[in-house]
Amino acid sequence: MTTLRTEEMTLNMGPQHPSTHGVLRFVIKADGEVMREAIPDVGYLHRSIEKIAEKVGYHGFMPYTDRVDYVCAMFTNQGWGMACEKLAGIKVPRRGEYCRVIAAEFNRIASHLLTVGLMGMDIGAMTPFLHALREREMINDLIEELCGARLTFNYMRIGGVAWDLPPGWRDKALAYLDHLDPILDEFNALFSYNKICVQRLANVASITAEEAIDYNLVGPNLRASGVKWDVRKDMPYSVYPDFDFEIPIGSGEWGTTGDAMDRYMMRIREMVQSSHILRQALAQMPEGPVLAKVVRNFKPPAGECQIRVESARGDQGWYVVSDGSSYPWRVHVRTGSFAAMGMIQKLSKGLMIADLVVLIASLDVIAPEIDR
């Protein structure tokens, strides 16, 4: 009685692929449709941004922080600004902080819209992607009026923000928020609650809370696994204590806690919470300057500092070492996507190839953030 000889297939989901979020490569060892493991291969987008900081100086590095994660550039701006301010002991005026929070929360909504749209496209529904991008275009228009750019904003400066709100912008922003709420309901009816979407996402690649903490996941990925950790509430910075908002936690209503559906729904719920924060911020804005006085030749005292910002992808850590000169000695960014890549190899065992795409999309991996 001879046994059938079966082989493992080694597939290459290469750097050019319609569904990896950026330039990523996976070497997949698969037994037919079911994977044994998927080994990620990163580094295609490495641009030495952290090294460039040592060359361009503190003020000049701000536009480079946009490129670290171009989908949610306001958070990287804010992280860098906060790091330099902490090094030099600069206090940002209150109105400046409010402007930062408003810009950041709009960026969070835009980033999450892109993520949920991409999730739709990866599963095969092209329509939610375009609907989400249409809403994102409206936010881009708003931010274009605020700071002049649609993607790489360079809105914040060390000590505050570069532009105050233009006249009439508040009303437009509030009108947009009024427009967004029914659109999110419609999006849910079209895509999130669709039986096929639920079947594709529920029970796929669930991550328990212990695993999530062990593997250093952050942001919506971590909260979907049931861990209540949000830098805005647990290590508050800026003026977030002024606002009343909730942190959505994954509870496994459609499948298990921490599966792809939970991670996906986190983002939808966070968009609603960001909308609440924005309404409060726009209503409570104080008057005053938006930028503190900072010398052009910025030389913070020698030392190091660590800053954490809750970006759309999670807890983004900035570590800056200064040696007293006008160029930083070392800058390091720790991004949520980098940690998420580490988990993919472990999670991919037993998944199907179609589920790998869902996994990457649900972890909201953005390639430039991994490689910087």
């Binding site: 361009v56 400066r157 000590g159 532009w163």
Partner: protein, 285 residues
């Protein structure tokens, strides 16, 4: 019960597909959200972009003071300027002002410290061309004398128009200041979008404008004619309003003589003795 779950699945599938198809059907009867650029739109997109839009850089050489603040601020070193000081007349001669638009990342860090708004972003974004060299905008044809801001109103009407536009651009940027407790705030809120600003009343009478050779077309660049025309059109789209007489706007709202960005001395001796034109929206109001 497996049977109940079975029929539950069928019911859910039918209900959610029904809902989803209703959403898409409702989209079919809505207006599409598409701007059919470039030929089927009523106005040029460049005219609809906001004032702060960071498009292709343009330099108004008539009001450039040669302070090199933009050159120092650029993180990519895409601005190449060459200035020299004329020892006798103590004038600054600018002999080279090149901006490499291929390197520029449109961050705005150069237009922020400009004291007069000479270097500014326009709303132009169509800059594609066939060769990399044509993307270097060379603003100087022959060396020019840098602008010296006047103590009173600018007498030359063309330069005054450009200066006004430049200061309007510069006024959009945030003015640094410290947080004051609410009680110290003055009662009058700032008026948004104030029109032309004029340098203030109590200044010495001006000297007549010096006849210096100025380039005929400040934005001439080899091979970039189309964009240059567009940019020239864009900047002159709204003809600058003629400045009214000095003194109309009363007392200054901020301390005069403060440098435009309170970021410390630029260490540049070109501006000593003259106050750069003032900002209209100072931080304290």
């Amino acid at each position: 019960m497996a049977a109940v779950a079975y029929f539950q699945h069928i019911k859910e599938a039918l209900a959610t597909i029904f809902d989803g198809m209703a959403v898409t059907a409702s989209h079919m009867i809505r207006k599409p959200y598409t701007i059919q650029y470039p030929d089927r739109i009523p106005v040029r997109v460049q005219d609809t972009l906001p004032f702060r839009y960071r498009g292709i850089l343009d330099v108004d050489l008539e009001i450039c003071t040669g302070c090199l603040a933009c050159d120092r601020a650029c993180p990519i070193d895409c601005i190449a300027m060459a200035i020299e000081k004329n020892a006798q007349t103590r004038e600054i001669i600018i002999s080279q002002f090149d901006i490499d638009m291929a390197k520029c990342m449109y961050c705005g860090l150069c237009s922020e410290p400009c004291p007069t708004g000479a270097i500014h972003h326009t709303t132009e974004f169509e800059g594609a061309d066939y060769s990399l060299e044509s993307l270097i905008r060379r603003f100087i044809v022959e060396p020019v004398v840098a602008y010296k801001p006047k103590k009173g109103a600018e007498p030359d009407p063309d330069v005054a128009g450009l200066l006004e536009r430049g200061m309007k651009y510069v006024d959009e940027w945030a003015q640094p200041g410290a947080d004051k407790p609410p009680a110290a705030q003055p009662a009058v809120p700032p008026k948004p979008g104030t029109p032309a600003r004029i340098p203030t009343a109590n200044r010495a009478p001006v000297k007549p404008a010096v006849a210096t050779p100025k380039p005929a077309d400040s934005s001439s660049a080899a091979g970039m004619r189309d964009t240059a025309d567009n940019i020239a059109d864009a900047t002159l789209a709204k003809p600058p309003a003629r400045p009214t007489s000095v003194g109309e706007h009363g007392a200054p709202e901020a301390s005069s003589g403060a440098p435009k960005d309170a970021t410390g001395k630029t260490g540049d001796e070109s501006n000593e003795g003259t106050a750069p034109p003032e900002r209209k929206n100072p931080p304290s109001s």
